[in-house]
Assembly symmetry: C2
């Protein structure tokens, strides 16, 4: 963890910023490393000095919004509605997070359980947030006993991936989330 030179820090941040904008507008596949380098005004080599692969760069580019996901779980749970409503509120904000960058939902959901993935840290954050939700609702006896965080991450992540890919309306997304919620709540 040695400190970076000031110019290197500046480069690293500008690269991540530019990459965030480009990935957000166009999606992962439609952005090339050359394009990021040119937009950031650096050589490709500098990209690879700071980020060993394109996926690592992507991970850095979408870092900021992941850090608020745990807070989002608490917000969703804080309401005084029925368990079903609070669970749906969480699902919807989870999907909203995952679809904020095109291509992220599938990429991150695919990385669940893969410790070697560049997204491993994000997966842990998501698993924790879902565990939080499960604990809270289970304490009220609202959930079936055999639901676990990994399963929820995969189910909701799968819905998010489909929603993202097919650019579905929120109504279609919510209908699918309602199915998952009803399948997970005690009947």
């Amino acid at each position: 963890m040695k400190p970076l030179r000031a110019d290197a820090v500046r480069n690293r941040e500008r690269i991540a910023d530019i990459a965030r904008q480009l990935f957000r507008e166009k999606g992962y596949d439609a952005v090339s490393m050359d394009e990021v380098a040119k937009s950031a005004g650096v050589g490709v080599g500098t990209l690879y000095r700071h980020f060993p692969t394109k996926e690592a760069l992507y991970d850095a580019a979408i870092q900021a919004w992941v850090e608020t996901v745990t807070a989002a779980a608490d917000t969703a749970l804080a309401g005084d509605g029925a368990p079903r409503d609070r669970l749906l509120a969480w699902f919807e904000s989870y999907v909203e997070f995952l679809t904020r960058h095109k291509g992220a939902a599938w990429r991150i959901t695919s990385a669940l359980g893969d410790e070697g993935s560049p997204f491993a840290a994000k997966c842990r954050t998501y698993l924790n947030a879902n565990q939080r939700v499960i604990d809270a609702l289970a304490a009220e006896g609202a959930l079936r006993g055999d639901v676990d965080a990994m399963q929820l991450c995969r189910l909701v992540g799968g819905v998010a991936a489909v929603v993202d890919n097919s650019e579905l309306e929120p109504a279609a997304a919510n209908a699918m989330l309602a199915v998952v919620a009803d399948g997970v709540l005690a009947s």
Copy 2:
């Protein structure tokens, strides 16, 4: 629909056969068009003469097993178990179909609703099969009113894509399918 010359027919079939084997062993991304051409003993140009894109070749390679999917729906429904068991039987065989070729589940599920996709015909087949299941179970009053075939295809296809990608055990797959089933059945 003019008839092909005998040698062209032979080439087309051998290409599709070889491609099926290669795709099945390695998955879509890990097989290059050059590899298919070389394995089939033809030039790349011949590949493109018969199949305009790699996706079209893939579509042809995985054709055979799709044609039995409607029969599988009827088989699953034919049992005399509870609606939940028959629905699960269908889900499980649906996932088994979609995961038979690595990478197919996500590719096909992504193509749902896209008429221009090379997989459009397969999507229609899948939608029909799911509609068949919905009709049969709805006639018994076992389903919620607002379930439609597209939604089921997306939900179960999403599960299949995750199962395929993470190479999950059948037990994990079935647990997720149970959630979807319970979310879709009348409570």
